[in-house]
């Protein structure tokens, strides 16, 4: 039930204070996010339009731990005046985490429809797949393959050039 402090605002015009949106994670934590940052998420954008008196938006699919990071990501990407290179470096650091966390980010980005985060995280996983053999991929994702011998042969034949 803790509330994280709102992100430090950049120069806001004095006449209209930045609108803060409240979010509640699956485990009951509340977070505040600037509207501009929240609009990075198509899901939140739709919900904000139907907002009723600023009650925290419940996000049952996202835990507090991940939501905190997602808020951080969206806030950073809504910041004005950040050059491409430093943003890219920041993104690289952001996904420099253990595998399981990257998967959590992907699910959150998918659920909240945040194209920038989804793109970033999917590329990370694609990099993990690149260069592995099918067997290594199966081990990595804990996938059990139940091709029949005929199917396996056909699929190998279709894709033989990848193994040359």
């Amino acid at each position: 039930m803790s509330s994280s402090p709102p992100p430090s605002s950049a120069a806001a015009s004095p006449s209209c204070p930045k609108k803060m949106i409240a979010l509640r994670s699956s485990d009951g934590e509340t977070f505040e996010i600037e509207e501009a940052a929240a609009l990075q998420s198509k899901t939140l954008e739709n919900m904000i339009d139907e907002d009723c008196a600023g009650t925290p938006i419940p996000l049952p699919n996202v835990t507090g731990k991940i939501l905190a990071k997602v808020v951080e990501f969206c806030s950073k990407h809504a910041e004005p005046g950040v050059d491409d290179e430093s943003l890219r470096a920041w993104d690289a650091e952001f996904v420099n985490v253990e595998q399981a966390t990257v998967f959590d980010y992907i699910l959150a980005a998918n659920f909240l429809e945040i194209p920038t985060l989804l793109n970033l995280t999917c590329n990370v996983v694609a990099d993990m797949i690149r260069g592995k053999t099918p067997d290594e991929i199966r081990k990595f994702f804990n996938i059990k393959s139940i091709f029949s011998p005929e199917e396996e042969e056909e699929v190998r034949r279709e894709n033989h050039w990848a193994f040359e």
Binding site: A126, T133, I143, W161, A162
Partner: protein, 161 residues
């Protein structure tokens, strides 16, 4: 065609990528051609996703900005689909460039001109397959070995000068 394998532990449900097909599709879209073919050998679900032509469409033209007009898609589909386009027209050029210029970044269809070239070669491939239909049947991915003398598909092969 879809198989779900639950390897879930009690404490924290273990992430099973095959339970999230839309996310998996997004990931596969970002692979290169070779990795995509390797991915197709992983399991039935991955194989089905990798066979989906929209994944190959994304692969063919992801570096083209602005993206090609939507009128291109029915033409490519009629001529054999994006997977074939990649295999027959884009990949051979790519591998040839890879051999000769090692330091160079992988070639991609980046400009309108390269798009037109790929589509033209693709039309040639289709035309030649039409011709081979009554004959002994051309090879699956247009090696150009059938009707070698009249084949224009030499354009995709290294030229001996």
């Amino acid at each position: 065609m879809v198989h779900h394998h639950h390897h879930c532990k009690e404490k924290r449900p273990k992430f099973c990528i095959n339970d999230h097909v839309d996310v998996l599709a997004e990931i596969l879209k970002r692979l290169d051609g070779r990795s995509l073919c390797v991915a197709a050998c992983v399991c039935r679900l991955w194989s089905a996703l990798a066979r989906n032509d929209s994944v190959w469409e994304h692969l063919c033209f992801r570096h083209l900005s602005p993206p090609p007009p939507s009128s291109v898609r029915p033409v490519v589909s009629a001529l054999g689909g994006y997977r074939r386009l990649y295999m027959v027209c884009i990949r051979p050029v790519l591998s040839r460039l890879g051999r000769s210029r090692r330091a160079e970044l992988p070639w991609r269809v980046r400009s309108r001109e390269e798009l037109q070239l790929s589509l033209s070669l693709f039309c040639v491939d289709y035309y030649e397959r039409l011709g081979n239909g009554s004959g002994g049947g051309g090879s699956r991915f247009g090696d150009g070995s059938a009707s070698a003398s009249s084949s224009l598909m030499f354009l995709c092969k290294p030229v001996n000068v």
